[in-house]
Point group: C2
Chain length 414, copies 2
């Protein structure tokens, strides 16, 4: 089948899938979890081939680790599907409506988006996660994974598709693109009228390529240049705990901190202590003049540093003159993901939350909490850094749209 | 200023505009209405030049009429601004949230989108409408109107911008692109990071060009191939009232009806009567075999007809075998705008509303009600035919997004 034919099949299936009850969808998710466990040996065998191919291509050790499946990781995927089964079904929720003066009733009801394209890299668990969330939210899904995980992804998708269809999910609801050609991505993101939205998950390069070339709607995810601003009257012990957590607890993820802003009035009391604490946690500081003067190990920051998502134990540090300056710096260099102020000043906290334009604006807490599971959503398909449709952590309701049902007894427009 | 510089100025203004109170915004809208009326002579003079230029270029009479401003039309624009002032401000509404087990409070609050680009044609009143709705919802706006109305639009935008800024709207919040070059559109729809969304309003050709070439998020509006399906046990008198209204009350608009589907079991009793009624209302029928056999004036429909938005008094008519067939036809040829079933059968009504994938699905009412004013929203910036972000009539809340405000007392992620 061509990709267009796959999308046509998905679009036809989506119409039926939208009407499948929660009971059937939940049973299907349970069957899919069981099928994954039952197929563990085949999945691990396919993964072993991907791993060999990766090693033969001198793939980086960190990427090999992301690609690797183990019995425990297969069990985690199965658990993930069961958790999705236990979540509330967003489809069919009545989210508004009214009775018009002429007697027409207008009901706004949540419905699936239709056909969702997921373009992703490396981690094979995304295959299971994305299929589970799309099925629960009543959406047909077209998956395009990275070439390095093609054997693992193909096998996982095949096992889940067969189990889903055997359990009553309409045939064609799960489509996996087996081509590893880049042209396949371009075709998928140009199928207006068949694909309702594409969600890219992976590197900044992948995301920008999709955003720049898609004609179907895209939800941009993932790039986070997150700041923490320490105000002049912060609780400095609290500030240190938050900064160490936000920077070092898992530096590779998008909600980790990349830039520390310190109020000039806090430099004397706070800066040496935090630079020492960062050093003890293995953090390489890249700082402005004041910072470099205070820490001989600090590297001088360039303009580019302020806009860089390091994704490792590097941290840029800058002194600012006021909360306004901090807000201005964040407006210039931030990616509208997660931003934090540490302060005891109520007015500053309020101003920062109001004026900073980001998905998540924190007072006195680590930016690492920007996450669907941490927020209590029970799931996460990605973290949106655009403003259209969904912002911040996206779970099941973000995979839906709505329609208006209007009922009358012959009303016509005067 | 280049378009990029205009967008940068808009983005800077948007940060301030997001924090402007409803009181200031409403007073500004009132001032803008007064300024329009005070500048009526200048606006009509600029419009007269556009009209002369249009006539010199042999512009169609219907387009000339859309372009023409009169004292009454200027007063309507001013009234529109006053109506927007009277609507509820969506900005700042708390739309959700929770307290997490660790004590963090998460508040989901409605905020402006930021910078909205509006690309439109012909009607100069769109300039005032769009500026009013964007200001009320706290968004900076960049307007790109059609070349045929450039003098009228430039004057209206200038008057409103001056009045708005004098009344406390941050400088730079209203940007009007004076270039009539097509390259200006391409530049505007490529300004990722500066423009948060672009809304095209106008012909299908304009909309498709924007959707196909934009890298910033787009809300697709407007194309409507709307169907009315007359079921076998419809109230035929009601069906006739609805059909005549949906087709003839204002045939040029997107929620007008383009295709009539009639259940085969209703042909004998209903078809001759409705064909006669349509004829009396000046409607040219384009039908399938059964329809052409019944009406010597009917033209045989081609495959293309079923997908055509006529926008005039032509109507395609097809006989179908069942409600399932009607749903299938709509899934194939519809544009997900507005669809209607006329029936007395509860199960058929329910099935049609559930299975038809469109912004608005009607039972026993004219599709002409798909409209922000008719729905009681008090405004309309367009009718979305995509599923992402907003669907159907869009008013003030659809010009907003949300952010999460998270407050704590030093929480870090374990």
């Amino acid at each position: 089948m061509t990709i267009r034919e796959q999308a046509q099949e998905a679009a036809r299936a989506a119409v039926k899938l939208a009407a499948v009850s929660s009971v059937v969808k939940n049973k299907a998710l349970e069957s899919m979890a069981e099928a994954l466990l039952a197929a563990q040996d085949e999945i691990l065998a396919a993964n072993a081939e991907d791993i060999s191919a990766g090693k033969a291509k001198q793939m980086k050790e960190s990427l090999i680790d992301r690609l690797l499946l183990t019995p425990a990781r297969v069990a985690d995927m199965a658990d993930g599907l069961r958790q999705v089964a236990s979540l509330r079904d967003p489809v069919g929720e009545i989210i508004g409506g009214s009775t018009l003066p002429n007697g027409l009733t207008v009901t706004k009801i949540r419905v699936p988006l239709g056909v969702i394209g997921i373009i992703y890299e490396a981690r094979p668990n995304v295959t299971a996660d994305a299929i589970g969330l799309c099925m629960k939210s009543g959406n047909a899904v077209i998956l395009k994974g990275g070439s390095e995980a093609i054997r693992s992804n193909t096998k996982i998708a095949e096992v889940l598709k067969n189990a889903a269809e055997a359990a009553g999910i309409p045939k064609g609801s799960i489509q996996f693109i087996t081509s590893t050609d880049h042209a396949a991505v371009q075709e998928l993101i140009s199928l207006n009228g068949l694909v309702d939205v594409v969600i890219p998950r992976g590197s900044g390069r992948l995301i920008q390529a999709v955003v720049g070339n898609a004609s179907v709607p895209v939800i941009e995810t993932g790039v986070g240049v997150c700041h923490t601003f320490v105000d002049e009257d912060a609780d400095f012990a609290m500030a240190e705990r938050i900064i160490i957590n936000a920077k070092t607890q898992r530096p590779s993820v998008c909600n980790a901190m990349e830039t520390l802003l310190v109020h000039r009035a806090a430099v004397r009391e706070f800066l040496p202590a935090i630079l020492q604490a960062l050093k003890e946690h293995g953090v390489q500081v890249i700082g402005d003049e004041t910072v470099c003067a205070s820490d001989p190990d600090a590297v001088a920051a360039t303009e580019e540093d302020w806009a860089t998502e390091y994704g490792d134990l590097r941290l840029s540090v800058k002194i600012v003159d006021s909360v306004d300056d901090a807000i201005e710096h964040i407006a210039t260099y931030g990616t509208k993901h997660s931003e934090c102020i540490v302060t005891r000043n109520f007015a500053h906290a309020r101003q920062f939350q109001q004026m900073v334009d980001a998905a998540c604006v924190y007072v006195n807490a680590s930016t690492r909490f920007t996450d669907g599971f941490q927020f209590g959503f029970g799931a996460e398909i990605g973290i949106s850094t655009q403003k259209l449709h969904a912002r911040g952590p996206m779970a099941l309701p973000e995979l839906t749209t709505y329609k208006y049902l209007i009922s009358g007894d012959g009303q016509v427009r005067p």
